[in-house]
Symmetry: C2
Subunit: 376 residues, 2 copies
Amino acid sequence: MGYVKWSYKTLNQFCSDVFEKFGFDQTDSNTIKDVLLSADLLGIESHGMQRMVRYYKGIEKGIIHPKEKPEVVFETPISAVVDGHAGMGQLIAAFSMKKAIEKAKKVGVGIVSVRNSNHFGIAGYYAKMASDEGLIGLSCTNSEAIMVPTYGRKAMIGSNPIAIAAPAEPYPFLFDASTTVVTRGKLEMYNKSGKPLPDNWALDENGRPSNDAPHVLANIAGKLGGGIMPLGGASMVTGSHKGYGWGMVAELFSSMLSLGTPSDETCTFPDKTGICHGFIAINPKFFGDEADFKSHLSEFLKRLRESPKADGQDKIYTHGEKEVFARKDRLENGIPVNDNTMVELKDLCDYLHLDFAHYFKGYQIHKDPKFFDSNY
Amino acid sequence: MGYVKWSYKTLNQFCSDVFEKFGFDQTDSNTIKDVLLSADLLGIESHGMQRMVRYYKGIEKGIIHPKEKPEVVFETPISAVVDGHAGMGQLIAAFSMKKAIEKAKKVGVGIVSVRNSNHFGIAGYYAKMASDEGLIGLSCTNSEAIMVPTYGRKAMIGSNPIAIAAPAEPYPFLFDASTTVVTRGKLEMYNKSGKPLPDNWALDENGRPSNDAPHVLANIAGKLGGGIMPLGGASMVTGSHKGYGWGMVAELFSSMLSLGTPSDETCTFPDKTGICHGFIAINPKFFGDEADFKSHLSEFLKRLRESPKADGQDKIYTHGEKEVFARKDRLENGIPVNDNTMVELKDLCDYLHLDFAHYFKGYQIHKDPKFFDSNY
């Protein structure tokens, strides 16, 4: 699988034009584009340009309703429930996290639970919206069932990422992780490269561990059973029940408090996904001096980075640090996009009557023969 | 290692008498006893009678100050910071969770961050205090450093459990898990039985995986390096950075918001541990009808339990379910206490001038030759 690098400026212009063509106004296009490109800038390729096709297909199939606006259906000074009306996930999520932030600034905390949304991109984006304002932020989402609960053989819970951010120097703490051991995107990368899956990642249709990427992915696509293990693997010996528990925590703040659709039922409807999100913002000022909190956290993060390394390792990262370096590198040296994603972008240009060659000058489309589009 | 069973009534009377002898009034003795015995009833042996010695030694050594009362040092309608003044952890924790619950009932949410406390027993006890009142509860604590951060070789973070509870029928959702792959107690059980440690649990002083329980435990006791892996193991391939991140989240709500002592510095002082806790209560009424929330959650939990089982498995548990059965069994059939713990209880009786034979009629003390007290 080959890669081609494009400047941030190129992809920025391309995305803006795409979303405006889909009918979003400039502000909304900017928000969607910013979430997508943030993923690529932070090195989370699976959630950047590679996901463009998911949004395009979602709109085309009538699962995403681009004209719908999020509606606050219940509200108190510390809380809100939002119905996304199956609109664009990024817009619903940004709207809801803004609301949580406003509440946290005013009364110390804001908790917003969202139902009937769509994929919102990287969870970390919204958690960081809070930490950028000096707050602690939490963001989570449920998603199409892919996690097999401990000792089960049917996927019942999504990859259900939870992200938590807090302000610190020289960069914020930003923890963003699926509650499965890995995401489906990782299985797809192994599939494309023809390598067997690492142990403790996936289960077959009988709930037995499997290293067979094409088999597991075909099962997932056909809903034939099996899926991905929770963080902690498939056995309680390695903490399987803990990843399963964290997946449930994401469910609690997204689909449960909003009375929305749990993961086992999302993405089973013809006209919506039903995906739910949860957002929390907490104001450190309501616990004392916010500067003291920030420096206390910064010092601990520094001690972690400077603590002794394992044999053969030269770096201990704190959460969010790697992404800071990735962002710097990609802004300077360009964002890698794989050739298979370029095929999808060409299709998208054809669909929207945009001139592919205008954005991606000199690029020749070539589809990787191993490419299997398992997104749909 | 042999076990002897005692009735709840016997242990209840014994614990009450012990804590009153230590100088706690009846209400406080009851609280401490209830936390300890709840662990045994729920099947979490490592945090029940087996821990009695830790509290006794803590008081004897002047690390726990039984006369000190928790003090609220900062407060708003949604938040509080509590200084435990190195008092008894269970009392500080129960006081602080009560405060969070009161706030949640009044304004929808209560967040209490606690510094300068001591071991508080099982995290789940306090989360369940909230769910017993119809609220979502979160409880977490930091602890003596035992988790080696991803790619490190020095323990920098505690086992840092986080518990989250929510009301449901026929039993609440109660997720209570260390953010390390296992706790030190599990290593001690393998040590006592002479078995090698399972893979993906522990690291030696060079940050290399180790199955050698006595070696790893001696390293931990002597602070010679190494320790326990985060949930997710030692490699990012299996999600090591995720367990490490969850450990940090416990730190955020306990030692960071309270400006207390992070795990890497706790238990290094001569006259206190510095252990910190975090408590959150959230009121579902502030998101709509609380009965709807409860039934929505109960239905999803039911679907999880009833979902297809892996080959060779006949049960999928939801979190907190196993503990309900354990409690019923132990109330009916007695609570197992191991012979080594009985040795400790005999010492305790001698220290407090209590008549061991009065409580534990007919029991003959016999110390297991493999017994190694690595708690101190």
